[in-house]
């Protein structure tokens, strides 16, 4: 246990250095904030063009919060998978880390933890910017904290677990690791009710979205963070039939299923990579 904690701490520290030490702290902070805020402002301007400057509607807050929370989906999936690719292809240290007497999962999650921490800062700043500047409807007094914290924790765990499966696949791919990541994150973006309710999707897509854990995660986080907005959106969200308890139960069940599936994928990919000698290959991608 103590060894695992040490591995986690050192991996997180290494991740922090790789993320941040290429520049001075001020520039890094600016970089970390500008990108997510710009991504969110694209949606804001799309909205403003249509509403001629109005940001008062419930849909605006729905879209804004969903997009802010989606940063976790993109960054956590990417963060876990990129550990394998970056260490193997760029720094060429994967083989040393792999044979070191440490728990490899702990190392990966330690590296990913720093991504979650940096993303959390981006999410918080985006939300604060939205509330203060754009009038996003988040009433701190009305936040359902237990639901928000439980949904957030479960969702992040689920994303890390899915990232592990993708990380396993990137053992076996050369240049496709990032594309597969973007593909999975992109599917969640379209089908999980991130920036628009799933009811606007065609019937088949709306059905698929109900099999994706991110759909329930988004709904859970929204119900915790902006219960008034979810109530105003009403049946448009497509999930009004799910009570908070059932929503969380679905999230727990999908996390457990993904845990077993992801571990199986990672182990199978790991075995295949060893057999084919791909742990220390470099493909210059």
């Amino acid at each position: 246990m103590r060894d695992d904690l040490r591995t986690f701490k050192n991996a997180a520290w290494l991740g922090w250095q790789m993320e941040a030490n290429w520049t001075d702290p001020f520039l890094f902070a600016t970089y970390s904030v500008v990108k997510p805020i710009a991504g969110t402002l694209i949606l804001v301007f799309m909205y403003l063009v249509i509403t001629h400057g109005e940001t008062g509607g419930a849909f605006f807050s729905f879209m804004y919060v969903g997009n802010a929370m989606y940063m976790y989906v993109a960054e956590v999936l990417f963060g876990v998978t990129w550990v394998i690719h970056d260490d193997r292809e760029h720094y060429m240290t994967l083989k040393q880390v792999y044979i070191a007497p440490i728990n490899f999962y702990t190392y990966i999650f330690g590296r990913a933890a720093i991504k979650i921490a940096i993303t959390t800062v981006g999410v918080l700043l985006t939300l604060v910017f939205g509330v203060l500047v754009l009038g996003v409807s988040i009433d701190v007094g009305a936040i359902n904290w237990p639901l928000l914290i439980a949904a957030l924790a479960l969702g992040l765990a689920c994303l890390c677990i899915m990232g592990l499966a993708l990380g396993g696949i990137s053992f076996l791919t050369a240049k496709h690791g990032q594309g597969i990541n973007e593909g999975v994150a992109g599917v969640f973006y379209v089908l999980s009710g991130v920036i628009f309710p799933i009811t606007i999707l065609p019937g088949w897509a709306s059905t698929v979205s109900k099999f994706l854990p991110v759909t329930y995660w988004m709904e859970g986080v929204r119900r915790g963070l902006e219960p008034g907005v979810v109530a105003d959106m009403g049946p448009a969200t497509g999930l009004t039939g799910f009570s908070d308890l059932i929503l969380m139960a679905v999230l727990v069940a999908s996390s457990i299923i993904f845990l077993f599936v992801s571990l199986a994928i990672f182990k199978a990919a790991d075995r295949a990579a060893r057999r084919k000698g791909k742990i220390d290959w470099t493909t210059t991608y």
């Binding site: 290429w22 500008v34 997510p36 710009a38 509403t51 593909g183 379209v190 999707l201």
Partner: protein, 274 residues
């Protein structure tokens, strides 16, 4: 300038373009990664406009913008970052030793990248049009082609300039390219008319050729929305883009010479893992 010199450099252009024109299309997986993936973002943004009951032209704006992201990403990751990657993989020193103009290498990258990306962007556009049932106005095809070609020359000129500037970067190269993705999508109005940013912000963003190119293409594809959403008239945008073509190509030559000189004097030009 002798005939041999010219031929040698033309061969260098062809040689550097070859991997992008032929090699990059050998593996069919590009269809999924380069065509389907951009469609996911396009679809998400299109559904937002649909949910808001926006005029149907806006879905067309999104599809056009989504297709054009391929060119901007190609500029960032396959033009600007390319000499940095070449340095990291050890090819840059070979390029510098070869008896050719460095501009031939950049020109080859641009020609190959333009072909490679046009194929992908056109595929994204066609699938998007079919999937969302979009109608485009093609009443001025020559003007459309002219605007597109001039935009691309200016854009790839900018990419050539960035490529030499990136030689100064170490790990910053990756982060700089990353930083110039969403903020440029925002500033250049990839998914909404750039006029919405206000005149001065749109004017500032016009230094990026894709801003004016995209605005002009939207006006040509949707002439009925021109007055309401246009930033500048198409002819004015075309004139500005023509000036940008010359400016960026001259700047790329000057910056390449400067960076090469600076790199040689500091001994960092081919130094890896900085």
């Amino acid at each position: 300038m002798t005939e041999t010199w010219l031929l040698r450099n033309l061969r260098a252009v062809r040689g550097r373009a070859y991997p992008r024109i032929v090699g990059a299309n050998r593996e069919p997986s590009w269809v999924f990664f380069d065509v389907v993936l951009p469609l996911l973002t396009v679809a998400a943004y299109a559904y937002i406009y649909k949910f808001m009951n926006a005029p149907k032209e806006f879905v067309g704006f999104v599809i056009l913008g989504g297709a054009m992201t391929a060119f901007w990403l190609n500029i960032l990751w396959s033009m600007a970052s390319q000499l940095y990657w070449e340095k990291e993989t050890g090819n840059l020193s070979l390029f510098l030793l070869a008896p050719i103009s460095r501009m031939s290498i950049l020109a080859g990258m641009a020609v190959g990248g333009l072909f490679f990306t046009t194929l992908r962007a056109a595929s994204t556009m066609i699938i998007g049009i079919v999937a969302f049932g979009i109608a485009l106005n093609l009443s001025e095809p020559l003007m459309l082609i002219l605007v597109f070609v001039v935009t691309m020359i200016a854009l790839y000129g900018m990419g050539m300039m960035f490529a030499s500037l990136y030689l100064m970067f170490g790990r910053e190269a990756y982060h700089v390219s990353n930083l110039m993705t969403e903020p440029i999508y925002l500033a250049s109005g990839f998914y909404f008319p750039v006029k919405a940013l206000g005149f001065w912000a749109a004017a500032g963003a016009s230094v990026i050729p894709i801003t004016l190119g995209l605005d002009a293409l939207r006006q040509l594809f949707y002439p009925s929305t021109g007055e309401l959403y246009q930033f500048l008239p198409v002819t004015v945008e075309l004139a500005i883009l023509s000036v940008l073509c010359i400016v960026f190509i001259v700047l790329s030559k000057l910056s390449l010479d400067y960076m090469e000189k600076l790199g040689k004097s500091t001994g960092r030009l081919t130094l890896r893992w900085q």
